[in-house]
């Protein structure tokens, strides 16, 4: 009896934890057109909240996050493409407002650095292995 109770509790708690991501989008912000709203959510998930910088504006409760969510929806309703909305934001706040860094020569070390280090380590490992084999 105790075992099944414990198992049930564990299962229940896991289910509760997996219940879905934290959202801050409020009902009065949502666009009526579901396709546009979907695009707004997709774009917002990649826009950094500048006040709570670890979160996207989709997740953050900050007042500026709400302003930016409304701005994204406004631009989409005005007919902007996804790229145009992103350009609108980066023109005002810089590239850092997007959570995914842009792929430019300036950010190549950021994107490819870890891979490069891994390749270097593998090459060193192979060279060491070969040396040991010869001996």
């Amino acid at each position: 009896m105790r075992r099944t109770a414990a198992a049930g509790l564990a299962l229940g708690m896991t289910a509760a934890l997996l219940c879905g991501a934290v959202l801050a989008v409020e009902p009065d912000e949502r666009l009526r057109d579901p396709a546009l709203e979907q695009r707004a959510r997709a774009i917002s998930a990649n826009v950094r909240c500048l006040v709570c910088q670890g979160q996207s504006i989709d997740e953050s409760d900050a007042s500026l996050a709400r302003d930016l969510r409304l701005l994204v929806r406004e631009r989409l309703a005005a007919g902007d493409s996804d790229d145009q909305v992103r350009t609108y934001l980066t023109a005002r706040y810089g590239a850092y407002i997007l959570q995914k860094p842009p792929l430019q020569p300036r950010t190549w070390p950021l994107w490819f650095g870890p891979l490069a280090f891994l390749a270097l380590a593998l090459a060193a490992g192979v060279a060491l292995f070969r040396r040991r084999r010869i001996q």
Binding site: L64, D67, L68
Partner: protein
């Protein structure tokens, strides 16, 4: 001989990384540089907050070197930097205020308590003017040159050393 020195490569890489990280320790990663530096002030308008000071819009920011200070009555660091703003204004510099996401009555009370060092005071109720300027918190201070180009932005409350080492030299250079 070459193969013996190969062991220095990881050491050199480590030293380089350590130096880079050490230099980064003194910086604040939450500060976001403005993409507007060197570009014209983006269009915005902010209605007048006070009866005796006109409102602020981007078209006003031409013809002379001007400073725009973004503030709010609910912002504690704004209160801390207010004496420095008053100083700048007292020196004869043109300083304008942009009241960001604030209740006009609260802002008026705040200014009447602390004094209004601004020539123009605009009220940005929704934060939309601020978004065009790239405002993401208060206080922020912008220096705009006579051609209407943004030359400098400081995020956070002004401090004496910032005014002395960064702002005043810039103003002197711009006024030549």
């Amino acid at each position: 001989m070459r193969k013996r020195l190969l062991f220095l490569v990881p050491l050199a890489a480590f030293v380089a990384l350590a130096a880079a990280f050490y230099l980064g320790l003194g910086r604040d990663p939450t500060l976001i540089p403005s993409p507007l530096i060197g570009r014209p002030v983006p269009p915005f308008t902010a209605a007048a907050l006070l009866p005796d000071h006109p409102g602020l819009s981007s078209s006003d920011l031409k013809g002379q070197v001007q400073i725009v200070n973004v503030f709010a009555s609910w912002c504690v660091p704004c209160r801390a930097e207010h004496p420095l703003i008053t100083d700048l204004s007292a020196q004869g510099l043109v300083v304008h205020g942009l009241n960001w996401k604030d209740k006009p009555d609260d802002a008026r009370a705040w200014l009447s308590e602390l004094g209004t060092p601004y020539r123009r005071v605009g009220s940005d109720l929704t934060g939309r003017a601020g978004i065009n300027l790239g405002v993401y918190g208060v206080p922020e201070t912008y220096v705009i040159d006579a051609d209407g180009v943004v030359r400098y932005k400081y995020t956070g409350p002004l401090q004496e050393r910032i005014v002395q080492n960064e702002i005043l030299p810039l103003l002197r250079a711009l006024q030549q």
